[in-house]
């Protein structure tokens, strides 16, 4: 990134830093909020998100846990039921599978199953995604799986504003909210308004307007999609990039407005292709915007393999800007 003069009222920061400030802000403003997870305290967070927070807030508010995903996620659920507003950090989505029973069978069900007597105002943050050569067990993108479950909400902040602002809104929500932070974004730097604060958690955003094709995506894939849009523009194709931001609920209105305009869509999703969130978005487009379509829908997803270790294979396995460009051109009947 080029060094630019920082404009008054904005700060130069990173995604990691933005998440940290969101946590700090929430803990300071709301005494019910506390952070709980593996290595969030003394270690400073696996991705250094919570570095320094233990010293600032103490071990009751920044709570290190043993390696007990099910235990501490369930504890977060219980604490939330009893009126606290915990932030449970599951180190990565890969380990969340150990807590899946608590998430699906307790957090997601309690309100409906108890006839609205008990709610679970819990936030669970998880790192997600591939790209660091961490191999098969550490590279999953399971946002789509979680977005399948009624009773919870699923977010994918992809920008600094969203990393900074979604957490507070999620903490105020009376229902469980899962926030997925793509590992490739933590180091991303950029400008953020100095007074950046809470943002909504239920609307998609058009990150780049266009008229020829809608590229619908979320999370880590947003930036690759924007890169693809730039490349397409060179060839005279103006792509509109839609950042879903919320994966459950999906913002149909924004998606359909875009497709109505461009008449074509490619969905970019780092999950595996079959049964992916891209499939869900595609189906909704067919259900709601069929008559607008001028080309078959396309999607760029991860190849159906466990993510491999060597860089060239890992890169080939997950979405990349050039694959998005190719899919977009195919939709336009161009080679």
């Amino acid at each position: 990134m080029q060094q630019e003069t920082v404009r008054a009222g904005t700060i130069e920061t990173t995604y990691r830093e933005a998440v940290k400030q969101a946590i700090r802000d929430a803990i300071k403003r709301d005494e019910r909020v506390f952070l709980m997870g593996e290595d969030v305290g003394r270690y400073g967070g696996c991705y250094a998100v919570s570095k320094g927070l233990l010293a600032e807030f103490g071990p009751e508010r920044i709570r290190d846990t043993p390696l007990s995903e099910s235990g501490f996620t369930g504890a977060g659920i219980g604490a939330a039921m009893a009126g606290m507003r915990p932030i449970v950090e599951v180190m990565t989505v890969n380990f969340s599978l150990l807590a899946l029973d608590q998430i699906m069978n307790t957090a997601a069900t309690v309100r409906h199953m108890s006839g609205n007597q008990f709610g679970v105002p819990l936030v669970i943050r998880m790192a997600t995604g591939a790209g660091k050569q961490l191999a098969a067990q550490h590279s999953h993108s399971l946002e789509g799986w979680y977005a399948h479950i009624p009773g919870i909400k699923v977010l994918a902040p992809a920008t600094l504003e969203d990393a900074r602002g979604m957490l507070w809104t999620a903490l105020q929500d009376p229902d469980p909210v899962l926030i997925f932070e793509n590992v490739m974004l933590y180091n991303m730097s950029g400008k953020l308004a100095a007074d950046a604060g809470a943002v909504d958690i239920d609307k998609a955003a058009v990150r780049r307007p266009g008229s020829d094709i809608s590229l619908v995506t979320y999370g880590g894939s947003l930036w690759k999609t924007l890169e693809a849009a730039t490349a397409l523009a060179v060839e005279g194709i103006e792509a509109e990039v839609v950042d879903l931001r919320s994966l459950r609920p999906l913002d149909d209105a924004t998606i359909m407005a875009s497709v109505a305009k461009t008449r074509r869509a490619v969905i970019v999703d780092e999950g595996w292709r079959s049964g992916s969130l891209a499939a869900e978005v595609g189906m909704r487009i067919v259900e709601q915007a069929f008559w607008s379509l001028d080309a078959p829908l396309g999607r760029v997803c991860s190849e159906e393999v466990p993510i491999p270790y060597p860089a060239h294979l890992e890169n080939a396995a997950i979405p990349q800007a050039d694959k998005v460009v190719a899919a977009a051109k195919a939709a336009l009947g161009r080679k």
Binding site: F34, E60, R63, T65, P66, S68, S70, G71, F72, T73, G74, A75, G76, I77, G78, A79, A80, M81, A82, G83, M84, P86, L98, D101, Q102, N105, T106, V110, R111, H112, M113, S114, G115, N116, Q117, F118, G119, P150, G151, K153, D173, P174, D175, D202, R248, P249, L250
Partner: protein, 334 residues
């Protein structure tokens, strides 16, 4: 009831109250069995026959402000806690007048008014929740006790170990009550645990523990008083193993191929109601007409509850997706 001293007060009034609590559970469960065979109650039904002394011994010792987490075999716990029998029966029927609005059924009884956090169909699934409830209380500097009931089958689940460890590590006011009825569905304890002395396991987590004869309601109450007192005072967890036996099958549709009839009969002679009643009679604490009177009262209450459930209404299908999310959030949450 307020927290009292360690020892139960063996007044006639108290004894009759305990006896009635147990008879009330037994007869309620009986009626549920009958209704189930008539298809009024559907799904799964897990009955508490033989284990009444645990709920009747422990729960009255807790305060209103304390919390209870239970399992799918929780009708007795809900009733002793005070959840109205009408609401419990209506819930069994699936009517919206039930304590979970008819949505949960037998395995998911919830009642916020009594801090009764359910009914859970996942073995071991409630333990982390209990830890969390206790964590909240701890962080607010409260003095609640979170009583968490589970069967001995749950000690095989990872969640048991994670929860015990967390409660001990962080010093949380959880009273872990293990109802050891010797069978996890159809698997005998000896076939599933390398260490069958359940109480022993608490020591690995440095949690104070006690084992008690779960068929002796007086012993259970005494142990519960010690336990609740300890938790409330020390703000540390406590582990109470209640050794009991399940007289009926695991659920209604169980041929009990895994245990001998003679074993069941032997335990039947030691079951808590018979045992307590015999003792009370032998010690002239109860009079000849006490039990018939209790039974008549209980039967009348049950008949009333059945009528209430029968007259109950079905939640309109149009309401199906309501309360998947909180209404105040204002989102479709689809």
């Amino acid at each position: 009831m307020t927290a009292r001293a360690d020892k139960p007060h063996l007044s006639r009034e108290h004894m009759l109250d305990i006896l009635k609590k147990m008879i009330r559970i037994r007869r309620f469960e009986d009626k549920c069995a009958e209704l189930y065979t008539q298809e009024k109650i559907r799904g799964f039904l897990h009955l508490y026959d033989g284990e009444e002394a645990v709920a009747a011994g422990v729960i009255p010792v807790l305060d209103q402000r304390d919390h209870i987490v239970a399992t799918y075999r929780e009708h007795g716990h809900a009733l002793v806690r005070g959840v109205p029998m009408t609401k419990v029966m209506a819930e069994m029927y699936g009517k919206q007048e039930g304590c979970s609005h008819g949505r949960g059924g037998s395995m998911h009884l919830f009642d916020r008014d009594y801090n009764f956090h359910g009914g859970n169909a996942i073995v071991g699934g409630g333990l982390p929740m209990a830890v969390g409830l206790a964590l909240a209380d701890h962080m607010r500097g409260g003095d609640h006790v979170i009583a968490c009931f589970f069967g001995e089958g749950a000690v095989a689940e990872g969640e048991f170990h994670e929860s015990m460890n967390l409660a001990a590590l962080w010093g949380l006011p959880v009273l872990f009550v293990c109802e050891n009825n010797l069978y996890a569905m159809g698997t005998a304890l000896a076939l599933s645990e390398s260490e069958t002395d359940i109480e022993h396991k608490a020591a690995c987590y440095k949690i104070d523990a006690e084992a008690v004869d779960g068929m002796d309601v007086v012993a259970v109450e005494a142990a519960a008083r010690r336990a609740v007192h300890a938790v409330r005072g020390s703000r540390k967890p406590y582990f109470l193993e209640c050794r009991t036996y399940r007289l009926r099958a695991h659920s209604m549709f169980d041929a009990q191929l895994y245990r001998e009839k003679s074993e069941i009969e032997a335990w039947r002679h030691r079951e808590p109601i018979v045992r307590f009643q015999t003792w009370l009679q032998a010690n002239h604490i109860i009079h000849p007409d006490d039990v018939p009177r209790i039974e008549a009262d209980v039967d009348a209450e049950i008949a009333d509850a059945v009528a209430f459930a029968e007259a109950g209404t079905w939640e309109p299908v149009g309401e199906l997706t309501r309360f998947t999310y909180a209404e105040s959030a204002g989102l479709a949450g689809q």
